[in-house]
């Protein structure tokens, strides 16, 4: 994709991100942080491409590390957020 289109996406998404969060009750600070931490695991997309692409052993090793770390971030992140929110419900 051409760099200017990418830059456009980047800038617009930043504005969207700023507008998205307005009032958050303090009890939801930690779950929201945890949930958006899980979403930042989107880097798994880059990790999958890096791990599956043709390259030297070094590239494969780095790709493997990237997939492992990103998967821990994604799976752990969403599960932990879910556990936290389940606790709130019982109250």
């Amino acid at each position: 994709m051409d760099p200017v289109a990418n830059l456009t996406l980047f800038v617009l998404a930043i504005f969207l991100g700023v507008e998205l969060i307005t009032k958050v009750p303090p009890t939801l600070h930690t779950p929201l942080m945890s949930g958006s931490n899980a979403i930042s695991g989107i880097t798994i997309v880059g990790a999958l491409v890096a791990a599956g692409s043709e390259g030297s052993t070094l590239v494969s090793v780095l790709g493997f590390i990237a997939v492992v770390l990103a998967t821990i971030n994604v799976i752990g992140g969403f599960m932990v957020t879910n556990r936290m929110l389940a606790m709130f419900k019982r109250k």
Partner: protein, 274 residues
């Protein structure tokens, strides 16, 4: 299997919408659980459709990585005590930053990806921010887990050293743009960024750690967005910058709730205030 790039990008757009709805949902008590589910569904869509990427030629490494990472992540999430949640998030966030850092390094050494100026700036940014997130989050984890003292730690000239490390990193990225093959400079950048992450979080006391974790979470989003510029991947760019921006706003909201100044957190001078 060949799938047109357009269909892949449309799936990424759907994933991005799910993330927006997910984050929005997580800001209200009534919709929080559904928000988390929507975001997880978005991640599923993005990950599965990525497997159709034309650059992927082998699946062994991917499968091994997903199995290992999935098991570790699930076990960690099940075992962790509710009282240990902040350090758990710090650790997971560090892994996310580390993943972006590893992706950027893999792209640097890959011969199948382009190394033009835009890619090299993005690789440099992802390495710098990713490595800072990794070591910074590990320090935050260690402090909250009481593996190291929760007291602010520092030494005279630490701020000057941080400034030198940061400026040095920017100069290093500039050098890499001009000389894309310079491995020595990349390693120097890695070392400087890791030290910077360490020194930025060490001077901050344990009580202020939640704010720091929120900020590092924002950084890991930016690192993912940078990885998106390397690969020309819309999902990474949109979602990374979304998390980067919303994470910064959340950090500022948390600062206000705790009577802290955001600039003080950003520049790591909380130790003097508290």
């Amino acid at each position: 299997m060949h799938v047109s790039q357009n269909w892949i990008d449309i799936a990424y757009l759907i994933a991005a919408c799910l993330f927006v709805l997910g984050i929005k949902g997580l800001t209200k008590p009534k919709t929080a659980v559904r928000g988390n589910m929507l975001a997880a569904a978005g991640m599923g869509v993005a990950a599965v459709v990525t497997l159709l990427n034309e650059r992927i030629v082998t699946y062994e490494v991917i499968i091994a990585g997903v199995v290992v990472g999935g098991l570790i992540g699930a076990i960690m999430a099940k075992k962790v005590q509710m009282t240990s949640m902040p350090q758990m998030i710090a650790l997971l966030n560090g892994f996310g930053g580390g993943a972006s850092f590893a992706v950027a390094s893999a792209e640097f050494f890959s011969t199948s990806s382009s190394h033009d100026a835009v890619s090299m700036i993005a690789i440099g940014a992802a390495v710098l921010i990713g490595a800072v997130t990794l070591t910074g989050s590990l320090v935050a984890f260690a402090k909250l887990q009481e593996l190291i003292s929760g007291q602010p730690m520092g030494f005279p000239g630490m701020k000057l050293l941080n400034a030198i490390l940061f400026i040095g990193s920017i100069v290093g990225i500039g050098y890499l743009v001009a000389n894309p093959g310079s491995e020595m400079v990349l390693w120097a950048l890695v070392a400087a960024a890791m030290l910077l992450g360490l020194f930025l979080v060490l001077p901050i006391g344990g009580a202020d750690m939640p704010v720091v974790i929120a900020l590092l979470n924002s950084y890991s989003g930016v690192a993912a967005a940078a990885a998106g510029f390397i690969m020309g991947n819309s999902a990474l760019i949109i979602t990374g910058s979304l998390v980067g921006a919303s994470g910064l706003i959340l950090t500022s909201i948390m600062c206000k709730a705790m009577n802290r100044s955001l600039t003080n957190v950003l520049f790591g001078v909380m130790a003097e205030a508290g």
